[in-house]
């Protein structure tokens, strides 16, 4: 880490740290009540207790498993179907209008019908997450394939490639950046929908911790769950970026600074 970087971090942290300290002081001196808005020390204590009992780990594992499976299914389906509709005019005319129509339904509106069809347990939750991930990945893949530079495809043809060869050597590398960006937004939505899925009834998971905190009037465990969500989301995105960075080293964009 260089100095500029460190300064950036310090600057970014200044406001939250100042607010935290101010709140801590306000609660300790009795100016503000800490029950509904617990101060940082209380949050740290709750997090520590949840972690010590192993509860936090169970919830994190449950949530992450759901996100991983739902994201896997949604991203795979979105990639494959996006590839097919991107590559074939017929498939696009056939499928894309229906998919766009389905996309117009707010994803949460699927919850009741998923529960009716798939029960209230894991399957309906995974379906909801997968659905949320599917649309951005599908759209990203479709538009990326349609946006492949015709000039580069011609280069492939002149040098003796066709069909599958063009697909593998031109189309695929050309769509990679957009595809990866769409995976990232898909992952973000995956976290959004895992909360929705767990709020609709679960016995474990960070969403359950949220709901439980609300019912028990435990603002501290709600806030801890929220913070853990933020950390997990950021960390997963970081992992995705790190995994895909080697694939994009050739890119000449601002993303190289990411």
């Amino acid at each position: 880490m260089n100095w500029g970087n460190l300064r950036g971090w310090l600057t970014a942290l200044a406001v939250p740290v100042a607010l935290g300290v101010a709140w801590e002081v306000a609660v300790r001196t009795g100016i503000a009540p800490g029950r509904l808005m617990p101060p940082p020390s209380r949050l740290a204590h709750t997090a520590g207790a949840l972690a010590a009992s192993g509860e936090l780990q169970t919830h994190v594992a449950a949530t992450m498993t759901r996100v991983a499976i739902g994201f896997g299914i949604g991203a795979f389906a979105g990639t494959v179907i996006g590839m097919v509709t991107g590559a074939s005019e017929t498939a696009r005319r056939l499928l894309d209008p229906s998919i766009q129509a389905l996309r117009a339904i707010p994803s949460i509106a699927w919850v009741p019908i998923f529960i009716l069809w798939l029960g209230i347990f894991e399957t309906s939750k995974l379906a909801l997450i997968a659905l949320g991930v599917f649309f951005p990945v599908y759209l990203g893949m479709l538009s990326a394939i349609q946006g492949v530079d015709r000039k580069l495809v011609e280069v492939g043809r002149v040098f003796g490639f066709s069909g599958i060869g063009i697909m593998l050597r031109i189309t695929w590398p050309a769509v990679l950046p957009t595809w990866i960006a769409s995976l990232r937004s898909g992952l973000g939505l995956g976290f959004m929908f895992v909360v929705a899925a767990e709020l609709m009834g679960a016995s474990e998971g960070l969403g359950y911790l949220l709901l439980d905190g609300q019912q028990m009037g435990r603002a501290d465990s709600i806030l801890v769950a929220m913070i853990v969500f933020a950390l997990l989301g950021k960390a997963s995105d970081g992992v995705l970026v790190a995994l895909t960075r080697p694939l994009l080293r050739w890119q000449d964009t601002v993303r190289s600074r990411l």
């Binding site: 580069l152 011609e154 002149v158 040098f159 003796g160 080293r249 890119q251």
Partner: protein, 261 residues
């Protein structure tokens, strides 16, 4: 050895634009033919058809008498822009042009060519890290690695400055002397045509067709500072004038030249 025959070639695009009509060009083995013409003459169309990237509406393109129906292993091309694949290193971009060559030989040729184009040591770099002129050199190397019998060049140097252009002319001629491909080079630069070509074909627009073909008899290596060179250059300029005159006479040109100039 390979002769390229373009015979009665015509192209009318889907929107009704007649880009080419009844084109005849014969390029003998190892010959450099320059196609000279103004913007919109159909030069790019001609090369795209020859490269097999588009289908003609009429006529045939034949290599050694055999008509070709699409892209052809003997035909290679350099486009107006470098069109390097940004996700491949410079070395792999060059190798991309040689898919039919066995790998060890391909590696050897990549190394050779990198040296020839003055980019030894650049093999592992990304195209984005090269200048425009360097990228175009890589594109030339990519087009030549497969030792094509026919090389098509579409205004390959028009985006470059005069210094770079001159050095690339030398490079192209050196590689040509070594590998002896038949070259069809499109240009609107008279100097480029006279310096490179054995024959110059001047085109006339709307629809594009051959106006006049002339042989450039200058010995190689050519010296731009001789009076023979100047005379030849002026002859080509005159041919262009004549093509414009026909254009004006038939009223198909862009308006007429003002009488005051």
């Amino acid at each position: 050895m390979t002769t390229l025959a373009i015979d009665g070639l015509g192209k009318t695009y889907a929107d009704g634009t007649e880009a080419l009509r009844d084109m005849h060009i014969m390029a003998r083995s190892g010959e450099i033919v320059a196609i000279l013409g103004g913007s919109g003459c159909g030069k790019t169309t001609l090369l795209r058809l020859t490269a097999g990237l588009d289908q003609p509406s009429a006529g045939v393109i034949a290599i050694d008498g055999r008509p070709i129906g699409g892209t052809h292993p003997a035909i290679s091309a350099v486009f107006q822009e470098p069109r390097l694949l940004p996700w491949l290193t410079v070395g792999r971009n060059i190798a991309f042009g040689g898919r039919r060559i066995a790998k060890p030989e391909r590696q050897r040729r990549v190394g050779d060519l990198l040296e020839r184009i003055g980019l030894a040591g650049y093999g592992a770099r990304w195209p984005k890290d090269l200048s425009g002129g360097q990228q175009q050199r890589v594109a030339i190397a990519r087009a030549l690695i497969g030792h094509p019998a026919i090389l098509l060049l579409d205004e390959p140097f028009s985006a470059l400055d005069a210094f770079t252009r001159a050095s690339l002319h030398e490079l192209l001629l050196a590689l040509w002397q070594e590998l002896r491909p038949t070259i069809l080079v499109v240009t609107h630069d008279v100097d480029e045509a006279v310096f490179l070509a054995d024959r110059v074909v001047v085109m006339r627009p709307r629809p594009g067709r051959v106006h006049e073909a002339m042989t450039i008899g200058l010995p190689r290596p050519r010296n731009k500072l001789t009076s023979e060179y100047d005379i030849t250059r002026r002859n080509v300029l005159r041919a262009i004038d004549r093509s414009l005159a026909v254009d004006r006479a038939t009223g198909s040109g862009f308006g007429t030249v003002s009488p005051w100039v």
